[in-house]
């Protein structure tokens, strides 16, 4: 059986921006697949190419073994797409929007009526279905959006940043709902720049950075691949460069330390990768004490997906976010995306 989704060697340029340089992944039927990466990494562009909103410059995109480019109508019938920003017509009621959506997928009247009622009950919209969507809260809007995307019971549901800007309650409701969907056999592709979201939901993950897939696999595989535990050490709240370098050089000589870097984005904290032995934390503390350097704080953790990202790119996801936020021209990108193909 072909994979539910296949993306291979995808490339897409907008003007002189290489939005996607080389993205490949496959999603098996019934999986939740996460595309993780900082803003501007090319996640949305990848999704747009999958959902027939943009034409790729190169590469294969297939749903259930059929090319999206050659069979756009079939792909559209099989895909449900939930954009990052909920776009509703505020003058229409939830039910009217669902009726419109049903007609766009050419559902027969009776099938549509029953299905709309089913989705309204499922997403607990009953009290609101006949009120204008303009008065809905953010959480309600997202639920209606989910109902709209799922109305035609797609094989593959694609969600772009499904919980950005949502309150915590709605966020956990969305998570729970996605798990229910998976249990019901729907294949789910979601993008996120939230580590915990991808970690908690995804069966498999592709980490994407600057238009390329830099790592992929199950979250636990990815984490175990980057080695032992992490120790983050701060000599002072904001450590001077010379002290940080001195401590780094010292700690690097310890047998339990595999790798040490000074993270200047976090006040020159020292990030260590240590062998999975239990007394590493104590050894490090002891060594530091002997040099007479002070200690502001120290913590040890299992590797996270962020460490996977750090190992591949040399920066944390948060740093990438901050860097991207400074260098991106969001307005220009939006315009480019609107221009489409």
């Amino acid at each position: 059986m072909p994979p539910a989704v296949l993306v291979e060697g995808l490339q897409k340029r907008y003007g002189d921006v290489d939005a996607v340089k080389d993205v490949s992944f496959t999603i098996e039927a019934g999986e939740i697949f996460g595309l993780l990466g900082p803003n501007g990494a090319g996640k949305t562009t990848t999704i747009r190419c999958l959902c027939t909103l943009s034409t790729p410059d190169a590469g294969r995109v297939e749903i259930n073994g059929r090319s999206v480019l050659d069979n756009p109508a079939l792909a559209r019938q099989q895909l449900g797409y939930i954009a990052q920003e909920v776009a509703l017509d505020k003058v229409l009621t939830g039910r009217e929007l669902l009726q419109l959506q049903a007609a766009l997928y050419h559902m027969p009247a009776k099938v549509a009526r029953d299905r709309i009622q089913q989705m309204i009950e499922l997403l607990e919209l009953t009290a609101w279905a006949d009120k204008k969507s303009g008065i809905y809260s953010g959480g309600l809007k997202k639920r209606l959006d989910l109902a709209l995307g799922l109305l035609h019971q797609p094989d593959v549901l694609v969600l772009d940043e499904p919980t950005v800007g949502l309150d915590i309650e709605t966020r956990s409701a969305v998570w729970q709902f996605l798990r229910q969907l998976k249990a019901a056999g729907t294949t789910v592709l979601l993008t996120s720049h939230y580590l915990e979201e991808v970690d908690a939901l995804s069966d498999r993950v592709a980490i994407i950075d600057q238009g390329k897939v830099i790592a992929s696999g199950t979250p636990s595989d990815l984490k175990s691949r980057v080695g032992g535990d992490r120790i983050t050490l701060r000599i002072r709240e904001f450590t001077p460069d010379d002290e940080a370098d001195k401590a780094k050089d010292l700690l690097q000589t310890l047998p339990c330390v595999e790798e040490a870097i000074v993270n200047d984005a976090q006040g020159n904290s020292i990030n260590l990768v240590v062998t999975a032995q239990s007394d590493a934390l104590m050894t490090v503390q002891q060594a530091l004490k002997e040099t007479g350097l002070p200690m502001f704080g120290i913590s040890q953790s299992r590797p996270s997906l962020d460490d996977v990202y750090l190992a591949a790119t040399g920066r944390t996801l948060m740093d990438a976010e901050i860097a991207a936020a400074g260098s991106r021209d969001l307005k220009a990108e939006r315009k480019q995306a609107m221009k489409g193909a």
Binding site: C51, T52, L53, S54, T55, R66, L69, N71, P72, A73, L74, R76, Q77, Y81, A83, E85, A87, L88, D89, V91, L92, E96, L100, Q101, A102, A103, L104, Y105, H106, M107, P108, K110, V111, D114, R115, Q118, E121, L122, L123, E124, K132, S137, G139, L140, L150, H152, Q153, D167, E169, T170, S172, A173, Q176, Q180, L181, A184, T186, K335, M338, A341
Partner: protein, 306 residues
């Protein structure tokens, strides 16, 4: 209001009826798009049109303004030129009678020219993506829905203008004439709506679209025969006006008004610089304009993937 979703084991995500319908659908070659003359096209067009009418019903100000505006044109312009010596405006007995046809066409044209704006806003808000990711029979349903809506608006406006003109002494066309007026307005609306929607797909944003509408609207009015006849214009403007598609909607309507019961397809409705234009010629030119508009926007509708 609670935002948590309590799991409901009794409610299933699956809908067997829907699944069966989908299975039948993919059996009957879902790969082929149904196209323009299908039940699917009709269904999606009706649904999109319904949305526009719901909007109008809940925000009726557009309709109110849409009727008031041409009425003001008719009254104010009519009064401005009320004392123009008889004979300057061809066979018309008074300027009010002359002006009616121009206002009917200009009003329908203005409405159709603005049709792209809501679509542009849908595009900017991301709502249009719902249409673009759906397996539409044809994206011409987006055009058709707007055209039906604008046409309905234009009919109400046209009725108001014809009614007021009659009160102002312009008389009424005969019944067949009224039918032809409706057809002319509908053809013009379809053609201009298509162009406007094409612009809403091609231009970067609503600011640019408004700018284009702004520089198109009044110049097209003044370079047509809406306000004065060809014979009144300097030579260069006559040439421009005889190239303006609005002229080919205005002159037949004006002729129908002036010759109730005696007009025909071979009646000469206008003496253009390049020769006389018959009623049939004008209608053919109008139809041609409409067809070319519809064909022109096809690549724009397809652009984001066929």
């Amino acid at each position: 209001m609670s935002t948590t979703l309590t799991p409901k084991p009794k409610l299933s995500l699956d809908n067997p009826e829907l699944r069966q319908w989908k299975a039948e659908l993919s059996d009957s070659s879902a790969t082929a798009t149904p196209g323009l003359f299908s039940a699917a096209f009709l269904q999606e067009t009706i649904a999109m049109t319904r949305r526009l009418f719901i909007q109008l019903q809940r925000r009726p100000s557009t309709l109110v303004a849409g009727v008031i505006q041409p009425v003001m044109w008719l009254i104010l312009f009519g009064a401005l030129f009320q004392n123009v010596p008889q004979g300057l405006f061809g066979e018309s007995q008074n300027y009010g009678q002359f002006l009616g046809a121009g206002i009917i066409v200009f009003t329908a044209f203005g409405g159709a020219l603005n049709a792209g704006l809501p679509v542009m806003f849908d595009r900017e808000f991301g709502f249009l993506n719902r249409f673009l990711v759906a397996p539409l029979a044809s994206r011409y349903s987006i055009v058709a829905a707007s055209a039906v809506f604008i046409a309905a608006m234009s009919m109400v406006q046209t009725a108001a203008i014809i009614g007021l003109s009659a009160v102002l002494g312009a008389g009424l066309p005969d019944l067949a004439g009224l039918g032809l007026v409706v057809l002319i307005v509908l053809t013009l609306v379809l053609g201009v709506t298509a162009l406007s929607l094409g612009l809403s797909f091609a231009l970067p944003g609503h600011i640019e679209l408004i700018a284009v509408i702004f520089v198109t609207n009044l110049p097209l009015l003044f370079s047509s025969t809406a306000l004065v006849p060809l014979s009144f214009m300097p030579q260069w403007l006559r040439i421009v006006a005889s190239l303006n598609p609005l002229t080919y909607a205005i002159e037949p309507i004006r002729y129908i008004y002036l010759h109730p019961g005696s007009w025909g397809l071979t009646s000469v409705v206008m003496a253009a610089p390049l020769g006389d234009v018959k009623m049939g010629d004008a209608l053919a030119i109008l139809l041609g304009f409409c067809m070319i508009s519809l064909a022109l926007i096809q690549p724009l509708l397809r652009r984001r993937i066929a």
